[in-house]
Amino acid sequence: MKKILFLALVVLVSLSFAAAVKAEEERPLYGCELNLYDTPNDDGISVELEFMPLSSPDEVPQYGIDLYVDGVFMNTLTVVNAQALFIYTVPTDKRGAEVRAEVFAYDAEGTRQGPVQVEKAISTAQWYYSDRIGAFIWSMLFIGLIMILIGKAKKGQDIFIRRIAGLEAIDDAVGRATEMGRPVFYIPGTSIIDDIATLASLNILRPVAQQVATYETPFSVPIKDPVVLTVAQDIVKEAYMAAGRADLHDEGMVYLASVGQFDYAAAVNGAMVREKPATVFLLGMFWAESLMLAETANTVGAIQIAGTDATSQLPFFIAACDYTLIGEELYAASAYMSREPLLLGTLKAQDMIKGAVIFAMLLSLVFMLFGIDSVMNFFFQ
């Protein structure tokens, strides 16, 4: 806020300044505008300095700003008078330090005049990001809703979930591979574990692996990231055990194909043309390699079930794959497939929050029609 005000001030000052030039009125000798304030949203180890020279460059070609932290001289900033805003972050390296800035002007002969202005500020740490507090409140609301609905679901209240075509197809797709006697490939995206899409995909891996185990179909899970590898190994192993086919499980099913984007694509493409899978799952986060994998799968005659939250890759999956989970359907999948009440409760909560977001958006839109932006700022800060 302060920054915006200051910018507005600068604009005003420069406007009046322009007027002053026209009128050839006297300018303040050694005039300047110094603003020193605590850096917003930090942990208190710096303050911000903004400086606008106002004298004409002929009279004052240069300014010097002496900086003191807790009374100890730090250094001098030299500012050439370009009549432009000068900004600088003063590091204090500790919280609660008092920064003092003294502006000196150098006249045409180079004589140091002043101090013409002195400002002080104390570096402090903030306890919350002023621009994230809205998101935080929304999130807390979401968590609360989830808690409530989970409670309801636990009590046995039925929660309706509509059909998701891509997920219905999983059973048939695995069955098809069994009939053809060809393997199933599962690619849990090419991102790392930090990516929530990867986690969503790993949640689907379990039921798929269980089905594959029941049908006794060969299974292959090529992976790009080592941490994802460890997680996927556990999931597949437990899924085989749950299906009662621990004897079919082989440690080599889940393997690291490679570690980079395109070398991974090269390796998986190679594996696909050699092993000729009948079904390929492409679920998770993808980048440009999405289309390479999808097209190669098509070339070897596999059914592809794809799903991603990468909006830039969705068009390719839509075009090249037989079934596509679009965006949030990927996240809904684990609840949909497991039918576990806890997960279904979360899905319901998600819909309710979405309803609230739409409502708040409509409200903001209506108020904006009349030029009132406070509603929008309240909801979507």
């Binding site: 998701i164 460890t230 997680v231 490679s258 090269a266 319901k348 903001s364 839109l365």
Partner: protein, 235 residues
Amino acid sequence: MLFWYTVAVLLSLAIFSFLWKDNPLYKFAEHLFVGTMVGYTIVMVFSQIIMRKIVDPITLAVHNHQYLNLISLIIATLIGLLYLSRFSQKAQWVSRYPISITVGFWSGYAIVTSFKTNILTQVRGTVVDDMGAPLLNGELLGDFIKSPSWSSLDLAVSGPLLVFGVIVVLIYFFFSIKNENPMVRFANKPALLYLMLGFGASFGYTFMGRISLFIGRMNFIFNEWWPLLKQTIGG
């Protein structure tokens, strides 16, 4: 120089040969690629993480007697080492600790961030544009009625169409509402229309960039490597 350029060209051609069919040349390039990248990654993890984030800071901490720092680094290293428990059959489950720490931290980290960037910022962008002007704007509609033209029509309807599209797409993805619900039924067709227009347009839009990549590759072969080859052979 020519040697390395030639290597680069031959490898490129080996990759392109995959389009025809899988063949030993492609297999060679593929396996070479994997080996190179894994080796490269090992070196990077060693130099950028093992050395820069573990060894150097620990040495520094010992040197400067920053024991708090030292303890933090050692704990992190020990947690990381738990991964290696997977090499033993019996203690394998210990590797769940680093996994749950990683997954837990990033999940928590994602909550507020994605609410902010994926939801609030996007919704805000649907209420007002980058300059702070409302997307539903009666004045622009008035301008159009006063002086009808293509550009004033575009200005007047673009905002409302955008808002409408966002809302129907959001409604389309409600999971817990039955398809017979009138709101969902109403939103269904327009939402699909928006989605398909968007996907089609994005597909066509990206097409250009993908062709450019291939042209860039061919430029390398014919405008960089070929002249260099001729120059070297010709003297």
